[in-house]
């Protein structure tokens, strides 16, 4: 599918650029949970002068970056089971407290990966629903039900070009009507009561480029389109 892309889409954002864009929207002082995988990159791009505190489900607030290889502590890991560090001001707690933080609405924001996001904010990111899949859900359902703002960072389409932003999810849901904003390699899209709304495109990408790769109606609400 890639070779059929128009020239403008050759310049789609890298994972790091999507992460950098998502990081711009995180307010100073926020308590944030970043999903395993691509969203973890966001931590590297928090704008200078802003302090955010990262939560990881397995019992740490104040998670820092990965340690150097010689400083790995196997008892200090993140929810992705990778070695991390603890920043000054960090705290440890058990799993029930960790999910009281999540479910109790104490986190300002989480940014998660997605298999599909529907125009009403439904999120599917835990199961392909295939019969041979090993069921595994982790903390995804708790995060979407409890964190005040849930955003998604993902590629706009799957590797074979199928839109991930859809009218209705075909995969099993993680939560209903939970996502409010989506950062992709093509655009920033908000979920509104009237469905998907384009608020920004990557440089060189047009509304039509994004609309053609979105599996549900897309409204253009960019400031430039309203003037």
């Amino acid at each position: 599918m890639n070779e059929q892309l128009p020239a403008s889409l050759q310049a789609r954002l890298t994972r790091e650029q999507i992460a950098e864009r998502a990081a711009q929207d995180i307010a100073d002082g926020s308590y944030v949970n970043l999903g395993i995988g691509m969203p973890e990159l966001i931590a590297q791009f928090v704008p200078e002068g802003r302090e955010i505190v990262l939560h990881t489900e397995n019992g740490l607030l104040g998670m820092g970056p990965a340690p150097t290889p010689d400083a790995v502590d196997v008892e200090l890991i993140n929810a992705g089971k990778k070695p991390v560090t603890a920043n000054p001001g960090a705290s440890y707690f058990h799993h029930a407290d960790s999910f009281a933080i999540v479910r109790g609405g104490h986190l300002d924001l989480c940014v998660l990966g997605a298999m599909e996001v529907a125009a009403n904010g439904d999120l599917a990111n835990w199961s392909t629903g295939r019969d041979d899949a090993i069921p595994a859900v982790g903390g995804a359902m708790d995060l979407v039900s409890g964190v005040r703002t849930v955003r998604v960072m993902t590629t706009h389409c799957t590797r074979d070009g199928t839109p991930k932003l859809v009218e209705k999810c075909s995969y099993p849901l993680t939560g209903a009507e939970v996502v409010s904003r989506i950062y992709t390699d093509l655009a920033v899209v908000d979920v509104t009561p009237d469905g998907f709304a384009l608020i920004e495109t990557a440089p060189g990408v047009s509304f039509d480029d994004v609309a053609a790769r979105t599996g549900a109606p897309l409204r253009d609400v960019r400031e430039s389109s309203l003037t």
């Binding site: 196997v74 008892e75 890991i77 058990h94 799993h95 595994a136 708790d142 409890g146 849901l173 939560g175």
Partner: protein
């Protein structure tokens, strides 16, 4: 006199019966009570129901317990592992049952079990397939699911420091499910790197009060599951 020290891991788990429900602490490879689980393998109890967030790593600990055919059912949130196919193979072969529970619901069900709360409503999982068959009720205009407490005959957990009364301190994110599992089991067995006389631990910093603990095994230099897996260790 209260002295919960057990002579060995083997002695501490000697009374586990076939068919018992066993909570096993740990998240990923952090906090796995490897020495206690290996003692349970040696002890031989089978048809166990295991409550654990994951389903083991490599060929040691919980993965080895499953491979030895001792586990009839797992209650957990994320049984897939990038470094072990033991659970996957048993699950696909229909040799192990799985009750999949969202991680926060798993933690709260265990906490509730230890706190004398038989069931509770949670928004987690509403409108998903994990809501199937569960009682639903609306609060504040949102659907919630009725979830039941989890208790167990045994809990096997790992601590950094203990005293003879069973007061516990943990290490970093190896704490994870330890404190709540200690509360929810009929008999809680702890392996700890240090075990000292009462008074050695500052009461202000104790994470698990000794009342939740029944047996303390001194394992001064515990194996780290991460390292065992990295070296391809195989138990037994």
């Amino acid at each position: 006199m209260i002295d919960k020290r057990a002579a060995s891991a083997a002695a501490a788990v000697a009374a586990v019966d076939d068919g018992a429900t066993v909570m096993i602490g740990g998240f990923g490879e952090a906090g796995s009570p490897i020495e206690l689980v290996h003692a349970l393998i040696d002890q031989g109890a089978s048809e166990l129901t295991v409550i654990s967030n994951n389903a083991g790593n490599g060929q040691v600990g919980l993965a080895a317990l499953i491979r030895c055919g001792r586990v009839a059912k797992i209650i957990g949130s994320y049984p897939r592992s990038s470094n072990s196919t033991v659970f996957t193979d048993f699950y696909r072969a229909g040799r192990i049952e799985l009750e999949l529970v969202p991680q926060g619901t798993l933690a709260e069900r265990i906490r509730a079990g230890g706190a004398g709360i038989p069931a509770f409503y949670t928004p987690t999982g509403a409108a998903t397939e994990l809501a199937d068959g569960k009682e639903q009720r609306e609060f504040h205009g949102r659907p919630h699911l009725l979830e039941h407490a989890l208790t167990a005959d045994w809990a096997l957990i790992k601590a950094r420091a203990a005293d003879w009364h069973g007061n516990l301190l943990y290490s970093k994110t190896a704490r994870n499910f330890g404190p709540i599992m200690a509360m929810a089991a009929e008999t809680t067995v702890v392996q700890a790197s240090s075990v000292d006389a009462p008074g050695a631990l500052d009461p202000e910093t104790i994470v698990t009060p000794g009342i939740f603990v029944d047996r303390v095994v001194h394992v001064p230099d515990p194996a780290q599951e991460f390292e065992l897996v990295a070296h391809g260790a195989h138990y037994p």
